[in-house]
């Protein structure tokens, strides 16, 4: 009896933990307008300095494929266009949608959808249910890319 009570509590605790995890993983909703997302995913503007650091961080994955105006690193990819001048070519709204879901522009693209957690196959245990980047990280990167004007 006492044992099954403990079990019951543990079960409830476990399912509560599960619910809150599931909540934490829910993505902020956003509205696609034309070829972009006009409003910030967080409701606040991003920080371009943090955005630059994020683009350069290997774990963010951008410079695995892209190069850009980053003289301090030799480890840049050439699978994708150079990011120099991205702020001339694209509005913040277009950049935001590109990061959220590049496959909307080109269904065959190799660029991952950074703000998506469904329709994926065999996602690794540590990554299931999570988008690659958080809404705040996307906003920081959008703010940085918008400053890339030549």
């Amino acid at each position: 009896m006492a044992k099954s009570f403990v079990h019951g509590v543990a079960l409830i605790a476990a399912s509560l933990a599960f619910v809150s995890v599931a909540r934490a993983d829910e993505l902020a909703s956003y509205k696609v307008a034309g070829d972009g997302i006009v409003e910030s995913l967080t409701g606040a503007p991003g920080d371009a300095v943090r955005g630059r650091a994020l683009v350069l961080a290997r774990t963010t994955t951008c410079i695995l494929c892209h190069s850009g105006p980053f003289p301090e690193t030799r480890f840049q990819g050439d699978l994708a266009p150079d990011l120099t001048g991205a702020g001339n070519r694209w509005s913040a709204s277009q950049l935001r949608l590109r990061l959220v879901d590049a496959s909307r522009f080109n269904a065959e693209t190799i660029m991952p959808s950074y703000y998506r957690n469904d329709d994926l196959v065999r996602v690794g245990r540590n990554f299931t249910g999570k988008p690659i980047l958080s809404a705040a990280e996307i906003e920081d990167i959008v703010a940085f890319l918008a400053t890339l004007r030549d």
Binding site: Q76, D78, L79, K130
Partner: protein, 259 residues
């Protein structure tokens, strides 16, 4: 054109599977060796500097060592590996009639241990298994790859090809996205090759040891943040078989060296 010519041409056409979009035509297939710098090439070319040769030498002594409760060595059944094992690795993974599925060279070694030596299986990536498979595969150095030619293997080659084309993981990338569509380019500055399986097991400088093809495939899967298949799983065997059939005609290089 004579009837015979027409039939021969049709047969040839039927024998070569049609390439999917993006697949590399046979005459453009290149080993990872051709993407390396001169230093790494020199290390592979010279047996006295190739660190993989130490494993081959270990494998050579295991070949003649009695093992298991049957008290038999590999050599007791297979004799001189230089003749009996020549060309074998170039045909693996090979279809096993008893199991009705393809098995890798590692699995074949463990099947021999179980049935003929009554010995326990060697764990994947253990030094002894890598040494034995390096020794056996080394006997095929220079032999052209023909794995997957066996008609019974075809459904498994097709399964492997589907897995190669399947996007997976949080980054949602397929093997083909890098190794068919983007070889010769660079991922964070490192060259991307065609992902040819010609040199395994091979010495990877990044690993500082010898490793199997499955280890390499699992790290590509973790790289795209996918759940890697278990060692020896049917999916990894099918992928390995597809990679070998995709490398048809390329010479074996075991033990290769890679950066």
């Amino acid at each position: 054109m004579s009837v015979w010519h027409a039939i021969a041409a049709a047969a040839l056409f039927a024998a070569a599977p049609a390439l999917l979009a993006g697949e590399i035509p046979p005459d453009a297939r290149r080993s990872g060796y051709s993407f390396m710098g001169p230093d790494t090439r020199a290390m592979q070319d010279d047996d006295t500097s190739n660190p993989g040769m130490l494993f081959v030498l270990d494998g050579q002594s295991l070949w003649t060592k009695k093992s298991g409760s049957a008290e038999k060595a590999c050599a007791d059944c297979h004799g001189d590996a230089r003749s009996s094992m020549k060309g074998v690795a170039a045909r693996y993974p090979a279809f096993d009639n008893a199991l009705s599925r393809p098995v890798t060279l590692d699995q074949r070694i463990n099947l021999c241990r179980a049935t003929h030596q009554q010995a326990s299986p060697l764990p994947y990536e253990s030094r002894d298994l890598l040494a034995l498979s390096a020794f056996v595969a080394h006997q095929s150095r220079g032999v052209a790859i023909t794995a997957g030619d066996d008609p019974q293997a075809k459904p498994f080659v097709a399964q492997g090809r589907d897995l190669f084309m399947q996007r997976e993981g949080q980054l949602n990338l397929a093997c083909t996205n890098c190794h068919d569509d983007n070889f010769d380019k660079h991922l964070a500055g490192a060259p991307i090759t065609q992902g040819q399986p010609t040199g395994y097991p091979l010495y990877r400088l990044e690993w500082q040891t010898l490793g199997s093809l499955e280890r390499r495939l699992r790290s590509c899967m973790s790289g795209v943040r996918a759940q890697a298949y278990d060692y020896g799983s049917p999916e990894l065997v099918a992928l390995e078989l597809y990679l070998m059939s995709r490398a048809r005609g390329l010479p074996m290089e075991t033990p290769a060296v890679r950066p």
